[in-house]
């Protein structure tokens, strides 16, 4: 398939347009996404092409417009709801968790909720405590929701296409700090299936498991380990949190015998803990060391740049975690 270099933002917009062209039931909803073009310019210019019935500006009322979208989905439409940031989804949590996630179950499968809720997730751009959350474990906790967190421009397009076509509510967590990053994006329909991790970099000695922007951090660490320690690290990009690709991490750990799970969110009850549990459950006999977790610091996200950097996993922390599972000296 032909490919072109695009930004994460362009790839995301392209996916939505691709699906709007394919299916007239696909509509966009959210605060300032139309006339203003979106706070992060994801939907910039779309209202001009598609008009206010397909690109709907909503009031500042997350619970209200998310509820409306759930109703629209029940009736067969395919809304894509933008959360200006995922932090505001707490206001809509009742609609997401109590309704979107459960209506199919309550109705014995008679009702489907083909709803996508998307927006920037995570921190790293100095938005301070209330605007810096990584919610993959929060939404990943509830049966009935699918949760994905693509990091490459190609995946954000391909997974958005898959999300729109999925008959279930999809929590689409974008790497907000990476909207401007570029990468090869396949033309046309490049639907990426959910529940399949991506091997971002192959290696033999230790597996680094991450998703979202921590994947890029792990790739840098893999280079460092190769250069400084002669260690060959495999980097796995989970990209789909629920469904979760257990087989990919198990296969990798069966090869490398060591694993480090990295997440931006806080350590307790996080995705990395789940990764560690799956590995000890399914690859116990292959482990040479306990699985290490590298997580954010146990504080509300600080505003100050130096403190924010200290609050998120660093290259050094991840490299040293890898060295620990290899029983090597930390640096």
């Amino acid at each position: 398939m032909a490919a072109e270099t695009k930004t994460y933002r362009e790839a995301l917009r392209e996916a939505m347009v691709h699906e709007m062209e394919r299916d007239e039931n696909v509509v966009l909803m959210g605060e300032d996404i139309g006339v203003y073009g979106g706070t992060h310019l994801i939907t910039d210019g779309l209202i001009d092409d598609w008009g206010p019935k397909r690109v709907m500006d909503t009031p500042i009322s997350e619970n209200g417009f998310t509820g409306a979208a759930v109703g629209m989905a029940m009736m067969g439409m395919r809304p894509i709801v933008e959360m200006m940031t995922w932090n505001f989804s707490f206001l809509a949590a009742d609609q997401i968790i109590q309704h979107a996630a459960k209506l199919r179950y309550f109705s014995g499968g008679q009702v489907q909720i083909p709803l996508v809720i998307r927006g920037p997730n995570g921190g790293g751009v100095q938005l301070s405590a209330q605007h810096t959350h990584s919610l993959e474990n929060f939404y990943g906790h509830f049966p009935g929701l699918k949760v994905v967190a693509p990091v490459t421009p190609n995946d954000v397009k391909g997974m958005m296409i898959t999300a729109v076509r999925d008959p279930n509510p999809v929590i689409f967590l974008e790497a907000g700090a990476l909207y401007g990053t570029k990468g090869e994006v396949e033309d046309g329909d490049n639907a990426v299936p959910f529940g399949k991790a991506r091997i971002a970099c192959e290696g033999d000695d230790v597996t680094l498991i991450a998703y979202g922007r921590q994947v890029n951090l792990c790739l840098r660490v893999a280079d460092t380990l190769e250069e400084e320690d002669g260690v060959s690290a495999e980097v796995i990009d989970l990209r789909s949190i629920r469904p979760f690709d257990e087989d990919a991490i198990v296969a990798s750990v069966e090869k490398t015998h060591r694993a480090v799970a990295v997440q931006e969110q806080w350590r307790w009850f996080g995705v990395a803990s789940e990764v560690a549990a799956i590995i000890q459950d399914r690859a116990f006999d292959y482990l040479d060391a306990p699985v290490e977790r590298v997580s954010g610091a146990e504080v509300p996200a600080p505003y100050a740049r130096n403190l924010e950097l200290a609050a998120f996993p660093s290259d050094k922390q991840v490299a040293n975690a890898a060295r620990r599972v290899l029983y090597m000296e930390e640096k």
Partner: protein, 450 residues
């Protein structure tokens, strides 16, 4: 830091012995006070307190060998608590780390302390404890992959030393043990080993020795992937070990072989009726053995208790095989005549090539001779064949113009002999004098008669 560490007193120092405590628990000490006498492999000296306070706890006992950077005592400053510790000062190795340079140990420790506050996880991992003995309570620690590998390869983990935290046996330990061929469960060891490895001595574990990263095979149509034979693997392992562990030195002499060649010709004419033909190698082996009488430390075996010098020369001779190499042994060769040596060496070489040697025929040599003269080699060096201390490389005889005592140019048959020897048992002078003696014998072959 109120802990007192085994100091690094020289680049080569890895551990020191605590000879004597000069203070007792509970004494008040001031910075600079001598508190203990220690001994390294080079000297003994006093160490001084680097802090003032109560000499609260003795961690290392008199007579203990403590790795550099290992804690030996604790000086309690005002308001400080004496940390609880496991018996035996297990933290020692963790704090020492893999750092070779002095001073680093203390830095690493300081960092660890800082980290302990914020990050329980890291502190847990750093706690390490080079406590080699993970088996105090009758069972030992091993990672899951190690237990799996042990089961698959019939290894006895109680024979494998662990390098992980609290002596945990980790994958690299068991891989190293498998590479060395030890750690096998009873009934597996020995019999599975190929002939040449039978006399292998116990070696220090090679923990931390990682092979360089290798490329994947090309697997193109014009390439062939070859699996080494078991014998080749054993040769490879033993030679790698010998080259890495034995500090080799070399000494080459050039021998004028005219007299020996003349004697050989004369003898072979007489022996023709007996259907016996002495080879040059028979003379060389005999000469090497005779000359050893004055240099017993080249006729030595490295044992678990040190080097053992042998009076009798049991000479191993390298025999090339299609599939590798083997070294059958001519026992007490110095006391045997040339005819006996010749018959025995021919018989051993022939049976070696047929794979019909008994183990006692290739085990227990005290020195080795390797001859590549028949291939026209001008000179070469050989790798010492452990646990022996020396090997002699014999090259070809070539005719060269040489000067005689009247400075006239005359033809001479010249041959180079190169000694490779283990510097831990012999020094250059021993090697040089020995090779000069071999040369003297071969240049005056009547000496072979005495």
């Amino acid at each position: 830091m109120p802990e007192v560490f085994m100091p690094k007193m020289g680049d080569a120092m890895e551990e020191g012995t605590l000879l004597k405590w000069l203070v007792s628990e509970g004494d008040e000490v001031s910075e600079g006070d001598p508190i203990a006498e220690i001994e390294t492999d080079k000297a003994s000296m006093e160490i001084e307190a680097e802090d003032s306070g109560t000499f609260a706890q003795i961690i290392a006992q008199e007579g203990d060998d403590i790795p550099v950077g290992g804690a030996i005592a604790f000086i309690q400053g005002e308001g400080e608590e004496v940390p609880e510790r496991q018996e035996g000062g297990g933290e020692a190795e963790a704090e020492e780390g893999g750092d070779e340079s002095g001073g680093e140990a203390a830095t690493a420790t300081a960092e660890q302390d800082e980290e302990q506050e914020g990050d329980e996880e890291e502190a847990g991992a750093a706690e390490a404890g080079g406590q080699a003995d993970g088996r105090a309570d009758g069972h030992f620690r091993a990672s899951p992959i190690v237990k799996r590998l042990a089961a698959e390869n019939e290894l006895d983990l109680s024979k494998v030393e662990g390098s992980g935290p609290q002596g945990r046996i980790v994958e690299r330990d068991v891989r190293a043990a498998m590479e060395r061929g030890d750690g096998q469960a009873d009934g597996q060891a020995g019999e599975a080993e190929a002939p040449a490895a039978a006399e292998e001595p116990q070696q220090a574990p090679q923990v931390g020795l990682q092979p360089a990263r290798l490329p994947e095979p090309v697997e193109g149509p014009d390439t062939e992937l070859v699996e080494p034979t078991r014998m080749q693997r054993v040769i490879g392992e033993r030679m790698t070990e010998a080259k890495q562990h034995i500090p080799h030195f070399y000494a080459t002499v050039e021998v004028r072989m005219n007299e020996t060649m003349a004697l050989r010709k004369q003898l072979n004419e007489q022996l023709e009726a007996e259907d016996l033909k002495l080879s040059v190698n028979d003379f060389v082996m005999k000469a090497c053995a005779v000359a050893l009488r004055s240099y017993p430390n080249l006729n030595a075996i490295q044992t678990t208790q040190g080097f053992e010098l042998h009076d009798k020369v049991d000479m191993a001779m390298a025999v090339a095989l299609d599939a590798g190499l083997i070294t059958p042994v001519i026992r007490d060769i110095a006391s045997k005549g040339l005819a006996a040596i010749s018959r025995e060496s021919k018989d051993l070489a022939a049976r070696a090539r047929d794979g019909k040697l008994q183990p006692d025929e290739y085990q227990g040599g005290t020195i080795t001779v390797s001859n590549m003269g028949m291939f026209g080699i001008e000179s070469f060096t050989a790798i010492v064949n452990p646990p022996q201390a020396a090997i002699i490389a014999v090259s070809s005889i070539a005719r060269h113009p040489a000067y005689d005592e009247n400075d006239e140019v005359v033809p001479a048959s010249m041959m180079k002999l190169t000694l490779s020897a283990d510097h831990r048992i012999a020094n250059g002078r021993d090697g040089a004098l020995y090779m000069a003696e071999v040369k003297r014998v071969l240049e005056n072959p009547v000496l072979l008669m005495v």
